[in-house]
Amino acid sequence: MFRLKGVFMEHVSKEHLDEMVTTLSESWKGSLITAGLNAGIFSSMNYNTPVSIDFLAEKLNYDRNKLDKWFYYCAGVGLVNQIDGGYILSPKCHVFMPDSPYKDIVGFTRLNDYFMRSAVEAQHNFKKGSSLDKLTEGKITRNYQPSVSDNLSAELMEYFKQYNMGGDDTLLDVGCGIGAFARTILKNMPGLKITGLDPNLFAIEWGRKENREKGLGERLKMVVGDAVDDIGEFADKSFDWVIAVNLFHFFPVEHRLKLMKNMVRIASKGVFFTETILEKSKLALSADPLMSLLWNDYTGFFREHDAENLNNQLAQAYPDAKIVKHLILQNSTYLMAITK
């Protein structure tokens, strides 16, 4: 026994222990940020006027002692600052609060909520055919788009404008989901005529309902279709622009090049799609397995060499097209812009 214990102890160095403690404490810190966001504590505060724990306890109907503990921790790690009269948000919070200029971080912070839930249900989510989205009957899909994906996509609008998208251009949004991003584009470019394509009947039903409610029926059509074979039904140059935002990690790896080529074929002006590269960021690396617990149809972020291969093949197939890679989303995601 003693020998065994000794062998075991040899492998657990102080360094390992420290690393694990740091990992755990950082993970718990993330949980407390998520708790503060979900409980509406951060959103009840601001950067200048202090709020007291008593005030928040009454306003939010929360236990004063629990709030006190949360604030004590958050003040300790510099998420909030204590001043006369209570607490204010520290400038650090500005990174992940809704008014943050780093929309991708806002999205990633919200994503933590889903990851935590998928970890709680991991014994189900690891099973084949199961996922948190399935367990919650599509609730993750419904809520992910506005709270996470929209933030990740917000930055793209500027690039679209740089490439002169606008006027009454037509646009095909491949893998439109519930159409949230298409509606964001319409907000910025109201003259556009957008067609959204997605194989998920539920997402299409949901999106059409929202379009009806918002009176967007004429400018945003959503059609059911698979980007593997149904996209072949769209004629050459039948749209000015074709986009696929955050789609490829939900798309079979073996069909990715085919889809990219189809997109170029259908577009008369240009194509935009995003590529998230695993090795480019710690966030992408750890998000990859977690994403597969959220969705069954998650196929994975690009591995660096796969992405390079695909992009090279694409460049060879369309030598006349101008292909530009824009680094977006915390060094892990590229916006590929292909203009004709």
């Binding site: 194989p199 299409i204 039903e205 059409r208 009806r212 059509k221 959503m222 059609v223 059911v224 698979d226």
Partner: protein, 474 residues
């Protein structure tokens, strides 16, 4: 008694006010009436005093006439002519006082001081204050001109009024007392009525607040009702979809390639399908409960339970199946006192043969070579659960599918799905889609079929449940 007197006084003051008049109008009516009543009293009393202190008939006539005219104004106001009555009281007063001034020594008359009441009265009657101030000053100026520049006219006036030095003193005393009293009364009326109006407004505000609170309560109740209704729909959807066979369950049926889907409408439509395999017998049921909502979902659940029970009891004959099913559902539907029934086709698959019984939408077959056969089930039975009085024998149909032949079962939500032009998808589109995709696997046929259906519907809402069962012979 006191109350009665008070209420009578209140009634006289408010005479001329109509139900529905706003608070401010009632206040003005009461002010005009109050002033007229006061003037009637004052003019009448002064007439009496003049009887003793002067022999001037003109003065008495003016006083008497003024009394009558104030009373007339009161009557006119009671008839609803508020504006006319206000102006009348004002002008009568100005003429009346000017007459009194002329006939009580003109510029030296104690009554001259009464012109300070003109703008006050104008304020009370809500008339142009400046205009009536000017009238008062104009009258005083006229008297001054007469006194200063027309002494012979002034003398004539003094002679006509025939007021001695004792009477002048009485007049002075009267002027000294009446002027502040009248001013006080006028200002008092303005303040009192304003306070009354404010009080009324406050009461109304309370009433409005109460009404608002009531409205809020109604809104909350309505919201609760809507939420209840939403919850009911969501429960019904849950009930309807939770008992559907799972993909894993269906995959265990080796001899058949089966794929199914149900999309519930905004208001649940009560669609039903099931695929059960027990001891080598595959039972496939599809049906549709009449009506919508929670009851439809419940009846669908009853039907599912009954079909499952009969399958467990190994009832092989679809004919017997449907008769028993009818009895069970009829008894249960009678209990819940809902005028509901359902279409239902039961297909049993035994030894490579399909036995079809019951009435529902047509069963559509697409042979391997693409030939389409539409089997009408209208003569195969009756609505289940509608009556106990059904024939002894439901018609049974027998069918054999060769390898790669496809059978399509569906609910009316499919054929009756409308596009934006209100055109139904119909059986023709259904057959075309089946013919187009029949070579694919059951799952792919289902996917592609739903794609065509949804894209046909476009932006229109799903009004009825959509159910589809694709069976491909292996």
């Amino acid at each position: 008694m006191l109350n009665t007197k008070k209420s009578r006084a209140f009634e006289i003051l408010s005479t001329g006010a109509r139900p529905g008049d706003d608070i401010q109008k009632v206040r003005l009516i009461r002010q005009v009436n109050g002033l007229n009543l006061f003037f009637i009293g004052v003019a009448a009393s002064v007439t009496l005093i003049f009887t003793f202190i002067t022999s001037s008939a003109e003065l008495k006539i003016i006083q008497g006439l003024a009394t009558v005219l104030y009373a007339t104004s009161l009557i006119i106001n009671s008839k609803g002519r508020l504006k006319f009555a206000s102006n009348m009281t004002m002008y009568v007063f100005e003429v009346h006082i000017f007459g009194v001034m002329l006939l009580t020594n003109g510029w030296t008359s104690a009554a001259v001081n009464l012109i300070i009441l003109y703008p006050l009265m104008a304020a009370l009657l809500e008339l142009n204050i400046n205009k009536h101030l000017c009238i008062g000053i104009g009258e005083a100026a006229a008297l001054f001109v007469i006194y200063t520049f027309l002494p012979q006219v002034n003398e004539l006036l003094v002679k006509t009024s025939n007021i001695g030095s004792d009477a002048v003193m009485v007049l002075d005393i009267m002027a000294a007392t009446y002027t502040p009293i009248m001013a006080a009364v006028i200002i008092g009326i303005i303040f009192k009525e304003n306070l009354n109006a404010r009080k009324k407004q406050k009461e109304m505000l309370v009433e409005i607040s109460d009404a608002n609170r009531q409205l809020e309560l109604y809104a909350t109740q309505l919201k609760d009702e809507t939420q209840k209704l939403k919850a009911e729909v969501s429960i019904a959807k849950k009930i309807q979809t939770m008992v559907l066979p799972s993909v894993e369950e269906i995959k265990q049926i080796d001899e058949l390639d089966i794929a199914c889907i149900m999309r519930t409408a905004t208001e649940v439509g009560g669609d039903y399908y099931d695929v059960i395999k027990i001891d080598g017998i595959v039972t496939i049921g599809i049906g549709d409960v009449t009506g919508h909502g929670l009851s439809s979902g419940l009846i669908m659940l009853m039907a599912q339970t009954a079909v499952r029970t009969l399958a467990e009891m190994k009832v092989k004959e679809p004919n017997t199946y449907l008769k028993l099913l009818n009895r069970i559902l009829y008894a249960n539907i009678s209990r819940i006192k809902e005028d509901r029934s359902m279409t239902m086709v039961i297909i049993t698959y035994i030894n490579n043969r399909y036995y079809i019984s019951g009435q529902h939408e047509s069963v559509v077959i697409c042979r391997k070579n693409g030939d389409i056969e539409v089997i009408d089930t209208m003569d195969n039975g009756f609505y289940v659960g509608m009556t106990l009085d059904v024939p002894d024998n439901y018609k049974n149909m027998e069918l054999i599918l060769e390898k790669d032949d496809v059978m399509l079962l569906y609910s009316d939500g499919v054929t009756e799905a409308e596009n934006v032009k209100k055109e139904q998808f119909g059986i023709t589109n259904l057959c075309d889609a089946l013919k187009k995709y029949h070579q694919l696997s059951a799952d792919k046929i289902k996917e592609k079929f739903m794609k065509d259906l949804y894209n046909y519907m476009g932006e229109t809402e799903i009004y009825d449940d959509i159910s589809l069962v694709v069976i491909k012979q292996r």
